[in-house]
Structure formats: structure tokens, C-alpha cells
Amino acid sequence: MKDEARARRLTSLLIVAGAALLALLPFVGVAPFTITLLTEALIFAVWAMSLDLMTGYAGMLTFGHAAGFGLGGYAAGYFAREVTGDFLASLLVSELVVLPAALAIGFVVTRLSGAAFAIVSLCIAQVLFQIAVAWRSVTDGMDGLVGVPLPTLLGVTVHNGNQLYLLTLLVAAMLCLGLRQLVASPFGRTLGAIRANADRAAAIGIDVRLHKWLVFAISWAIAGVAGTLMVFMKGGTTPMSLHWIESGNVLIMAIFGGLGTLFGPIIGAVAFVFLRDAFTSGFAVWQLAFGIVFVVVVLIFPSGLAGVVSRSWMLLWQARS
């Protein structure tokens, strides 16, 4: 038990150290465009971590994780444009929209599991997509929500570039620490039991549905935070943020990085953003490459990149002893 606590402290320390290192990057001559890519990567990392919580830890595969992301983005963006660009206020409004939606939808949807849950999640996201397209008076339809102002934090305007990067880094690091604590808690361990064998979990007194409902809501809430950050970064959003292609993107980030590891998705998000940037030659090629990587990963590396790393590490370790 002492070892556990020590391991946890070590991981938290690593997260803080990693964040500190990343924070230094703008000041050591890293190109502004790279900083922008990193900002996007960090936002995706938050989003991918929230997916990992639901899929990697609780075992609930979803094809509709764009829902919380896009919904949070729209809520925050609309509020920022119409009322105030205060970051904390926008974040609050975003959560005030996403959480009740997640609780209501989750209540119905967590009755399902496996492929059924995955597909119905997709349908939910598509419905939100349709609403975003149809509700022109609020969302401006397919043209998208534009004119979202720069965020302000405690009265100070946060400009694009380094300032937004640091804000995103701060939020991402805090959420990462929080999630680390959550998965190490009894709640996190109960999720693992549910993923391993839901019937068995029920037989030892775990209220499976309640846990699934809670993790659904928490996952959406964090996705909403990512959506809020994104809408400020881009100055707007479109219905495409709710499209199943986006859901597929975040899924591959998490799977490629490694489900159930929390850090894997971070790696996956960074890899995704930089690879996509490299592939600007054509959307078709990107889709093709994306699909091939996806299939290869699922067929050959079911534990993702982190799984490959951890397995190689274990093999090395065993070879030594």
C-alpha cells in the first residue's frame, strides 16, 4: 500500500514535471506554428483522455464521443460571443449544458453495452449534428458559429499563440492529475472490474449501471472542457465538430496511444495532430492512411502504442533477470 501511494506521488510528479517542461518550449525558440500544433494536441489529449476513461477503464466503446466535445464547444462559443468571453464563465456555461445532457442521455444509454452502446452513441452524436445544422437561429447551421472573441482570464485577455498555449497546458495538466487520482481510486478500480466482467462485478455488489452512468457523465464533462478550449482556439466551431469523423479521430488517438493507460491517449493525440499536419497533401490520402493505421492497430496492436512500449519494457526487464 505504501508502494501504491509512492507510485502515485511519482506519477503526479512526472505529470507536473512534464507540464513544466512543455511550458518552457515557447521560450527556448520553438517555432510559433509548432506551439499552435501543440495547443491543438493538448486539447485533443484532454478529449482523448476522457474517452480513455469511458472506453479504456470502464470498457464502454463509443463511436459518438464528438457529442460532448461539440456540445461543449457550441455552448461556450455561443455564450462567449453573446455575453462575455470570460474563460471561467464560458467553461461554467459549457458544463451547465453538457452535464445535464450527459446525465439525461446517459441514463437511457447506459442500459446498453458492447456494440449496441457503441452504435447508439454514434446515433446520439449524429442527432446533435443534425440539430446543429438545423437550428440556424442559434448555430448558424452548416456555416458554423463564428465571431467567438478571445478568452479573458480574470480580466486579462488571453491571446492566441503562447498565452493560449500556456492556458491550455495548465488546464490539461490539472485534468490529467485529476484523472490520475480518479483511476487510482476505488471508483477507478471498480470501473476496471466492470470492464473485466460486468456480471462478476454485479455479483460482488457493484452497482454496474450507476457506475456506467457516472463515468458517462464525467467523460462528457471533460470532453466539454476540451470543446470549450477548442472553440476559443479556433474562434468558432461548425457542426463538423459533432460529426462521426471526429468521433473516429479521437477514438484512433486513444487506441493508437493505448487504451487504459491515461498517458497513451496523450501520445496518440500528439502523434495524430503532427501526422495530420504532415499529410496536408490530400484529404483522401489522409482518410486512406487513417483507415489503414486503424485496422493495423486493432488487428496487431490491440493495446496500442503504450501497449507495445510496456510489453517491450516487460520483455527487456524479464531478459535482464
Partner: protein, 298 residues
């Protein structure tokens, strides 16, 4: 004045109903395929929409490259798609059959991306319009309304093929084997049924149905790389409502979904899909084990 408005409204309603029936016929073809593949092999084929698109593109490939007429291309398109589907099944789905359902769902998701990406690479991301084929290019008078004849013909072909599928399942030896495996895979294997080969064949057959639907629908709805996505989602809705593995359920579900979309779309525009989802949600509340569930208690 009001009598004429009522007549116009009735016509509007009638056209929407016809459109719903036409779309329902195509939806039935794709849903049957989806349902068969799941009932047999517990595979949820996310690439089904891409196979539908492949049918549409195979059609225009044969017509433009081969210079063939529509009807010849219509027969050729599924015949081109089926072997590709069989190869896909052997290479990517068969190896992971023993893994949990979600893995095949993920793989087919990736396959969908590959297929759509490949289509976009070859044909670009634009939309292609195809005129209705020669003998049926005109409109016909249905209860006082002019309605495109080809739509009715295409729907008829779909329905006939669907009836053929039902008949095959119900009355032929291979249909019996399929029903046996759908009910109890373990027992079927004990009875010496070569499951693997049957699964591959049925997968190919289902792909053929989807491709046929895509080729039939091509002159009605435009051809573009993402053309299969909407019908894929609708097919999922159909099988959630009607029950994966249940062909009759798919039949009823297909027309229910198609008519709801059509009538809803006519009166509520883009809100109709949201409405459809509410119905699915309500159905799930009433049947909480989920129609996908294999008798497991939630």
C-alpha cells in the same frame, strides 16, 4: 380555396409516403445484409455503408470505363464488390472472430475509412449525378401525381430481391443452416456445419446486397464518396428497432424508419432525425436489455 389546399396537402403527404416507401426498399436491402452478418457471425459491419457506396461507384466505373449500359452495369456492380468483400472478410475479420464484438466493430470502422478514402482518391470528393436509365426515365401518373417512374422500378427490384432473400433463408438447405447457426452457433458446429466458409459467403452476399442497393439508388440520390453513411446510420436504427438477426424485424423496421424520415423530413425538415432517435430511445427504455443483447440481463 381550402378544398384545393387540402388536395395539395394530400398530394404532398402522398409524395412523401411514396418517397418513404422507395427509400424503405433500399434500406431493407442494406438492413437485411447487416442483420444476416450479425445473426451469423456476431459481426457488426460498420463498413456496410462503404460497400453501398462501392456499389454506386462500381456502377459508374463499368458504365464509363466499359461503356456499358445501366442495366448491364447494375448486374456487374455487385459481382465486382462481392469478391472484394470476401477478401476483406478473410483478411481482416476472420482472424479476430474470437475477440469481443467491439473489435470487429473497430476493424470495420477502419475498413470504412479505407474504402471511402480509396474512392475519394480515385474519383475525387465531388458528387456525380446519374440520369435515370433509358426505358424508365420519365414520370408516371400515380393517383393524380407525377412521380419518377425509375424510383418505382428501383424500389420494385429491391423488394423482389428482398423477397428472394427471405425465401432463400426460409426454404433452402443453406438457409436452414444459416438459421441453425443464428439460433445456436455451438450446436450448428456440432452438427458439422462449416461455419467459417458460410460466414465468409454470407458476408460477401450481404456486401452484394448493399452494393446492389447503392447501384439501384445511384440515379435517384447522387453519387458521392460519403453516400453510404446516412443509410448506414439508418440501417443501424432499423436493426436496433427490429432486432439484429431478425429478418422480419428488419423488414418492419426499414419501412418504419424510412417513412418516419420521409414524412418527418417533409414536415419537420432536419429535425426529423432527432425525432427518430427519440423513438429509438423510447424503444430502448421499453426493452432495456437492448435489442442487440443476447438475453443478458443489463
Amino acid at each position: 380555396m381550402s378544398r384545393r389546399r387540402a388536395a395539395v396537402d394530400l398530394n404532398f403527404l402522398f409524395i412523401n409516403i411514396l418517397n418513404g416507401v422507395v427509400y424503405g426498399a433500399f434500406l431493407l436491402l442494406t438492413s437485411l445484409g447487416l442483420s444476416l452478418v450479425f445473426g451469423l457471425g456476431r459481426v457488426v459491419n460498420f463498413a456496410h455503408g462503404a460497400l453501398y457506396a462501392m456499389g454506386g461507384y462500381a456502377l459508374i466505373a463499368v458504365m464509363h470505363a466499359g461503356g456499358a449500359g445501366y442495366w448491364l452495369a447494375l448486374v456487374a456492380a455487385p459481382l465486382l464488390v462481392i469478391p472484394i468483400a470476401i477478401v476483406i472478410e478473410r483478411a481482416t475479420i476472420d482472424p479476430i472472430r474470437h475477440r469481443p464484438d467491439v473489435d470487429t466493430l473497430l476493424v470495420t470502422f477502419g475498413l470504412s475509412s479505407i474504402i471511402v478514402g480509396a474512392i475519394e482518391y480515385v474519383w475525387g470528393t465531388g458528387t456525380t449525378l446519374l440520369p435515370a436509365p433509358a426505358p424508365f426515365a420519365g414520370t408516371v401518373n400515380v393517383l393524380g401525381n407525377q412521380y419518377p417512374l425509375y424510383r418505382l422500378i428501383a424500389a420494385l427490384v429491391s423488394l423482389l430481391v428482398s423477397v428472394g432473400v427471405f425465401a432463400t433463408i426460409a426454404f433452402t438447405p443453406v438457409g436452414l443452416r444459416i438459421r441453425a447457426i443464428t439460433d445456436d452457433a455451438g450446436m450448428a458446429q456440432a452438427l458439422g456445419v462449416n461455419i467459417k466458409r458460410l460466414l465468409t459467403l454470407v458476408f460477401g452476399f450481404a456486401a452484394g446486397l448493399a452494393a446492389l442497393a447503392g447501384a439501384l439508388a445511384a440515379p435517384i440520390f447522387a453519387i458521392h464518396p460519403e453516400m453510404g453513411m446516412n443509410i448506414l446510420i439508418d440501417s443501424f436504427l432499423v436493426v436496433v428497432l427490429g432486432g439484429l438477426g431478425s429478418l422480419t424485424g428488419s423488414a418492419i423496421g426499414a419501412f418504419f424508419v424510412a417513412l418516419t424520415k420521409s414524412l418527418g423530413g417533409g414536415y419537420f425538415a432536419e429535425w426529423s432525425t432527432a425525432f427518430l432517435f427519440l423513438i429509438v430511445a423510447a424503444a430502448l427504455i421499453v426493452r432495456p436489455t437492448g435489442v442487440f443483447g443476447r438475453g443478458r440481463v443489463a
